[in-house]
Amino acid sequence: MKTFENICAQGDILIRRIASLPAGAERVDPENGVVIVTHSETGHHHVMDAGAVTMHRLPNSIMDCLLVVDQPAELRHLRAHDTHEPILFAPGVYHVRRQREYTPEGFRRVED
């Protein structure tokens, strides 16, 4: 399984290791035993095991989230075809950015 030191990307998300959880970050509840790192309109979420990872989000943030990984855990893409290969995370704190695209009005989140 692929691993990384500081920065990785899986599909439309970019993950970067950071020093610590920013102040004011609020915990996001897991669903059915997994942390949904990014939600897909078609159900092809990117998820991690809620037993190893907690997810947080800064107030009013819609394009990014924060992960606190307590023990090695893999980021998995829930799709049966054209699946993005899992990536193994070492314990640490990570900032997740979701990809956006331009519109004449500004930008929107990439939808898949």
Partner: protein
């Protein structure tokens, strides 16, 4: 399998990896369930009814009426009409017990009548038109026919209930992947768990039926498609027609596993480079670009390469001239799965890496470092 691993096999526990012999047997189980997932022979009413009855009994529910629909579309609308009728009957019963008693027998038959009528009407409408019109019209009329039948039976409340069909559906043979896994654990690994007794009804319902919607009073099961077309990776795909077609004419279209509008295949001229590049869903946008071909898109829109990075995962920044919109810039980029996507980026972008940095929220490209790993 690691040589030092300790294989444990009991009826209630399995650990230590799998043996080569087990792996070979699992291949066989996998093939069997892939075949079930792609089943196109007609549903057997007696077998699916028996499986559904046992499934309800396993869940300590009373045996429901089982109705077979010719397609998932008709299933959804028949569900809406039936659920609405049942809801009204039961709501009425709380306010007018006399009426309830007087109409009890009629209510008992409501589901059968509703679902039978919906199914018959929709099937008739769909199949009648199938024989008369082209594919696109048939699909449209199958949908209209089913919706109209639902409305005639249960009004707008029926349509509202139909829209909620996903809240009570199960996949039948279309969820074969889970069944394959459980069958392998039972039949190859040798687990014998108490849950397997109740699971047998679920497994049989997956072998004998397609999608189903389950209600306390009734269960509507879709027949299997009459054909399914796939690519070399078993993904639904057809370049010249539907990937799935049910016997009432209702069809689905896929491009290498991605659901796409029927027009993109049936009326190729309707899919223009402008539509392809500006389509909102990125997976469908990619499919549209593949259907048309990048060369055609770039030529049609007078594309100009602004900057090309050496790394195809950083991509190529292009500018195109889209009719009625004007000049737009796109980042053509290779993703970790080896597929090519196009992302609209601001017209101020000058380099591919600047554009990619922007897509991840970095307004200053100096803040962006390319990922060490990309999947």
């Amino acid at each position: 399998m690691k040589k030092n691993s300790k294989i444990i096999r009991t009826k209630t526990r399995a650990s230590g990896g799998i043996t080569d012999a087990e792996r070979a047997q699992m291949e066989s189980v996998s093939r069997e369930w892939i075949d079930i997932a792609y089943r196109t022979t007609p549903i057997d009413p007696a077998k699916i009814t028996d499986a559904i009855h046992r499934l309800y009994i396993a869940a300590n529910l009373k045996v429901p009426r089982v109705v077979i629909a010719p397609s998932p579309l008709v299933m959804a609308f028949a569900y809406g009409a039936s659920a609405a009728i049942w809801h009204r009957r039961k709501t009425d019963s709380t306010t007018d017990i006399v009426t309830f008693n007087a109409t009890r027998i009629a209510a008992d038959n409501a589901t059968f009548n509703a679902t039978a009528n919906v199914t018959r009407n929709a099937t008739f409408n769909a199949t009648d038109i199938v024989t008369a019109n082209a594919t696109l019209n048939a699909i449209a009329n199958a949908e209209t026919g089913a919706a109209r039948a639902c409305y005639d039976l249960a009004g707008s409340f029926g349509l509202e209930c139909a829209a909620q069909w996903m809240n009570s559906y199960q996949g039948g043979n279309m969820w074969a992947g889970w069944c394959s896994y459980l069958a392998a654990m039972r039949d190859v690994i040798g687990l014998r768990l108490p849950e397997h007794i109740a699971y047998q009804a679920w497994e049989d319902a997956a072998r004998e039926g397609g999608f189903r919607v389950m209600h306390k009073e009734f269960c509507i099961v879709s027949d299997f498609p009459e054909f399914i077309r796939i690519d070399d990776q078993n993904r639904p795909h057809c370049e010249s027609g539907p990937s799935h077609r049910w016997r009432d004419g209702w069809s689905l279209y896929h491009w290498h596993g991605v659901a796409i509008p029927a027009e993109w295949i049936e009326e190729r001229a309707s899919l223009t480079p402008q539509i392809a590049l500006t389509w909102r869903n990125i997976e469908q946008r990619r499919a549209a670009c593949e259907i048309l071909g990048w060369a055609k898109i770039l030529a049609a829109l007078k594309a100009r390469i602004i900057h090309e990075d050496l790394d195809p995962e950083i991509g190529t920044l292009v500018e195109v001239d889209i009719p009625d919109i004007g000049k737009e810039r796109f980042l053509r980029v290779l993703c970790g799965t080896g597929r090519e996507f196009a992302l609209p980026v601001p017209p101020t972008m000058k380099t591919a890496i600047q554009a990619q940095a922007w897509t991840y929220g970095y307004d200053d490209p100096k803040d962006f470092l390319p990922p060490e790993v990309r999947t």
